[in-house]
Amino acid sequence: MDWFEVISENFMVAGGRPLEVLAAVRDRHPLVLHGVSLSIGTTDPLNRKYLADLRALAKRFEPAWISDHLCWTGVAGRNLHDLLPLPYTAEVVRHVSQRIREVQDFLERPILLENVSSYLTFRDSTLSEWEFLCAVTEQADCGILLDINNIFVNAFNHRFSAEQYLDAIPVERVAQFHLAGHSDHGTHLFDTHDQPVGEEVWALYQRAVRRFGAVSTLIEWDDNIPEFRVLAETAERARRICEATVRAGTTGDEFSAQRPAESALPAYHRA
């Protein structure tokens, strides 16, 4: 096991077993905090209590980085506990990037934002999803957690080219990959995290490694979790693809064992 990613909110508690387990993990492994309720795209004010709890958690466990999602999760003080897409417009880019800057100032560190899977898009959008992601992360000066499966799912659901998406993302901003399984509902693909990574997603992953190099990669498997051997084999497959692709010399990067570490961060993360 190279490193651990944990859901931040599960550990934003006063005490008890969650923190005890996390401390034991952190003693032995690098750790990253991955949130699901930052709601960076909501029109509600930033939740200062949430940010203070997150900052305290980060101070205690010193994660390699903190990430969340480029989405909104609630409005008017209510939480949908889901990752909802935003309209892809210049106005929303300004709204979100300003909030990311505030969050980064508060946390005193840059954050990564992940592209979410989605099942709807908005008529008002004037940008593609990848243009929106690039514009937000550029204006906010934050990193990207690139979910390869989400790109594949959205490419089907919204009829765009996954390859075009990948090729548009700036190499220097990507600090982590997610891989996961999805299910096919006929009318749409569903990001379920409950089955093996699809072959098409593996192919897209290889293309991503070719473009972005040896980026720390996490397999997300949240439901119908198989025996550990299957998980380990999946992680090993990612490692083999990464190693072989990088050794083929298409990126010029050196293989870094996919561990989140200071050296794995993009330049602007090391400042």
Partner: protein
């Protein structure tokens, strides 16, 4: 930020959480532009705009339902799948989640069950849910530093009465009308559960290190632990523990209770910080 994004998010929130589904939500919605939902959300021959919002509506409900099943496994067991589903449907209309963590989504379930008893023949279910909720709360409450036997033994016995102590923060004393501890124990041990007796009782829930435990407590112990919600001299606790007992039995009862509390890590010495304040 523009009102448009705020309006859009509020509209989607209302549709996703509409109790009878997106279609009915659309029927009562007054904030739609000309052209309806399709003027805001893209649709195609595979999925209409409404069907796409429906995907999120399903996820909203079923994610919360599954989370609450995990929080309330015994409540689920006694109500059954269908009744529990109906309970959560009604509950979410009244108690929309507002906290960042799913952990907070079900905190009002016991109170909701008291105010809206289900039709199923389980009059004890609100007490059962109360016990399950207390276990969740205690599970991740602030850590405590319990008083150790060695600390008491280091004191001359005549000084014990002056020791100021209180109950650890990671504990709760519940007032139940049904003996629901037995039901929870049966569900935890995957045994068939029986309807509990109707009998007023007190249940102590506490955590030592990471292990959460619960047990019924007798009236004297309940009164003493209630007193220990605030800093109290041990002598005062002894008076409560001795109530109603023959004089020759009281000292042994007090010794046994203190020994148990110490072994269970239930009390802390006063002056160890505010976070050791107990619940209820």
């Amino acid at each position: 930020m523009s009102f448009q994004l705020k309006d859009l998010q509020n509209l989607l929130y209302r549709l996703i959480t509409a109790p009878s589904g997106v279609a009915e939500g659309l029927g009562t919605e007054h904030a739609l532009p000309a052209g309806g939902l399709a003027a805001l959300v893209d649709g195609d021959e595979r999925l209409s705009a409404e069907a796409r919002v429906d995907v999120y509506a399903d996820m909203y409900f079923y994610r919360l339902l599954e989370a609450l099943k995990e929080d309330y496994p015994a409540t689920l067991a006694v109500l059954g799948e269908a009744n529990f589903h109906n309970l959560i449907t009604a509950y979410l209309i009244e108690h929309r989640p507002s906290e960042p963590s799913l952990r907070g989504a079900g905190k009002f379930v016991p109170d909701f069950l008291r105010r809206h008893p289900p039709r199923a023949q389980v009059p004890f279910v609100a007490d059962l849910a109360m016990l399950e909720r207390a276990i969740i709360d205690v599970f991740c409450a602030a850590d405590a530093t319990p008083l150790e036997v060695s600390e008491m033994n280091a004191l001359e016995p005549e000084l014990w009465g002056a020791v100021k102590m209180r109950r650890i923060a990671v504990s709760a004393v519940l007032r139940a009308h049904w003996r629901v501890g037995e039901v929870l124990r049966a569900v935890e041990e995957k045994r068939d559960w029986k309807s509990p007796g109707r009998e007023r009782n007190r249940i102590l829930v506490w955590r030592r290190n990471s292990r959460v435990s619960y047990r019924e407590i007798a009236s004297n112990e309940a009164a003493a632990l209630a007193m220990l919600a605030r800093t109290t001299k041990f002598a005062n606790v002894c008076e409560v523990l001795a109530r109603g007992l023959p004089q020759d039995q009281a000292p042994q009862a007090i010794r046994d209770t203190l020994a148990r509390w110490l072994s269970e890590g239930l009390i802390t010495r006063a002056g160890r910080g505010k976070r050791d304040q107990p619940r209820s």
